[in-house]
Symmetry: C2
Amino acid sequence: MKLATLKNNRRDGRVVLVDRDLRNAVAVTDVGSTLQELLDNWASVEATLKQRYEALNRGELQGAEKFDPAQAAAPLPRAYQWCDGSAYLSHAELVRKARNAEMPAFLYQDPLMYQGGSDSFIGARDDIEVADEAWGIDLEAEIAVITDDVPMGVSRERAREHIKLVTIVNDVSLRNLMPHELSKGFGFFHSKPSTAFAPVAVTPDELAPYWDGAKLSLPLISRVNGLELGRPNGGADLDFDFPTLIAHAARTRRLIAGTIIGSGTVSNRDPGVGSSCLQERRMIEKIDSGEMKTPFLAFGDRVEIDMTNPEGRSIFGAIDQRVVRYVPSA
Amino acid sequence: MKLATLKNNRRDGRVVLVDRDLRNAVAVTDVGSTLQELLDNWASVEATLKQRYEALNRGELQGAEKFDPAQAAAPLPRAYQWCDGSAYLSHAELVRKARNAEMPAFLYQDPLMYQGGSDSFIGARDDIEVADEAWGIDLEAEIAVITDDVPMGVSRERAREHIKLVTIVNDVSLRNLMPHELSKGFGFFHSKPSTAFAPVAVTPDELAPYWDGAKLSLPLISRVNGLELGRPNGGADLDFDFPTLIAHAARTRRLIAGTIIGSGTVSNRDPGVGSSCLQERRMIEKIDSGEMKTPFLAFGDRVEIDMTNPEGRSIFGAIDQRVVRYVPSA
C-alpha cells in the first residue's frame, strides 16, 4: 500500500491511499481521517485498507482523485517521535578520516542515534526556510521506517514485525551550527530544523523484492540544482539495519505507534556512487585534495531526492525543495 | 485554570477542568476531548474554558465528578515535542566542581537544551519501569511550560505570550548510561526514559503572584522514601527563564502547539535547600567528603515531587511514584 497525507485546513491533513503509479488517490474517511489514526489502529484497519488499495489499482474504486504530490504534507505532518540513526558508518569514517581521527571501535557495535524534533515536519515540495545562509545548509538523504507500538526492550528479531511503513527523508542539517552543539554534549538541536518527507509512505510488502524485512536495496538519488550528488544503495554498507535501530531506540522505553526511525545519511564505501549530503562530498574533497570545494546550499538552490524502481518509476514520489530565506516577523 | 487528562481507553485520555483545590473535575467534551485539541485551538476555546472553570470553583457546574489524581495520565500523554533545558546552572557548576573541571564561559550565555522523547509520558502515580537497577535510576524535579504555536525566530519578549500552561515534572534519568551517551556526542537517548508529569497543568494567571511571566517562585519539594531531598525555589538562581528557553528552542524552527519546555533540574546555590535529584546530592557529598554516599534509586523506592502554595495546598497535585523492575516480554 501507498499512503499520503494531503494538506487541508487541519494540522494533520487528510490521509489518502495512493495507487502504485502515484497517479490517483482516494480518501478512506470511514477507516480513518489521519495517518496517525490509521497507525494507532493498524491491526484492525490494515485488511480493509489493502482491499481498497487493490481496487484503486484496478481502477475500480469510486471517488478517486488525481494525486498531486505538491499537495502532500509529510505523511505525518506532526509526529510523536523521530529517532534518527547513523547506520551507514562509511559516512562517519569519512568525517574522521578528513580530520585524521580514529573511528572509535564501539561505533561498530553501538548505533549512533539522536532524538529529533517531530512536531513540524514539512512536505516534499515545501520550501526549506532558513534565516541565515552562513549556518551551512545541507541536505541529508535518508531512508526511514514508521512503526506501530513497540514494547520496551524489544529484541532485534521481534522489532522487524513493527515496521509498518517505509519512506525517504531529507533530514535538513545546519552544518556550521553542529560543532558548537556537539561541544555542549546535549546533542543536535538548532542544527536540525524541520525534516522533509517524500509525498508517500509505503508498506514493506509493496517493496519486494528490494525490501528484505530489514533494509531497502535500491539506490537513493540526490540532486542539487539538477546535478546528481549521489546514488548510494540503501542495502549496501548498512552497518545497522532497521530492526537493530528499532531495538536500540526501545532499549529503555517503549515506542508509540507512529514513531519514525531514520537510517541517517545513506552512504556506500564505493566512492563511485557519490554522496547523500554535501558534507560528505566536502570530506572526500578534503581527503583527496586537502580542500573542501563544494559549498553548502544557498538561497534559491534546489534539492531533489528520489528512489526509483529499475523501470525508473518513483516509489515514494520525489522530494523537490527550494532553499529560501526565512524572515522572522517582528 | 487547572486542566488534567484522565485515563480512559484512548491514547490521549479525556481532558477535564479541575477546581482550584483539586477536589472536583468536569469534562468539557463540547469544547474539546483532549488537551492537545484544546491547545490546538487555545485562542478560540480559552474564554469558554475560563467561564466553566469559575463556575466549577463556585460549585455551580453540572456534571462535576470527584477528581482522583491516581486516574490522571500526563496532561499530554503523548506530545509532539519535549525540549528540556538546563536553566539552573548551579547544578552544572556542582557537577563540574565535583570532577575539578572548569565551567565553560559560554554556558552562562547559551542555554543547554536537549530534545527529549515525547511519545510516551507517564502519569503522576504511574510506576517508573526500568529493566536494570545498575543503570543508576534518578529523579529530576523540574518545572515545565506548555506553549501554543511559536514562530521560528521568536524574540524573548514575544516568547512570553506563548506560555499557556505550567506544570511540574519528574524527568527520570539513568545516570550510569549518561557517560557513554555523552561520549558519543549525539545527546541523551537511553539515559532518558519516559518522563512523568504532575496530575494537573495550570494557566499562568492562576499562579499569581508567584509567576511573573517568566519564572515560578515557589519551592519545589522532592522526597525519596518519605525523606526530603530538597526544596529549592523555582524563582531563585534561574540563569535562563522560560521565555529565554522558548526563544532558544525556536531559533531555527517553529514550535507546534503542545510543545513542552522544561527548566531542567531545579537547583539553588544555597546548599541549605537541598537538591532536586540524587546526582546533585552525590556531587555535594563528593565535594564535601570525597565520597558519593547516597545511592541511586532501587526497585521499590518511592519518589514524591510536589509544589505547594504558602498555605500548604498542592498546586499541581503531587507526583508520587514507585520504581519497579521492568521485565520484557519474550
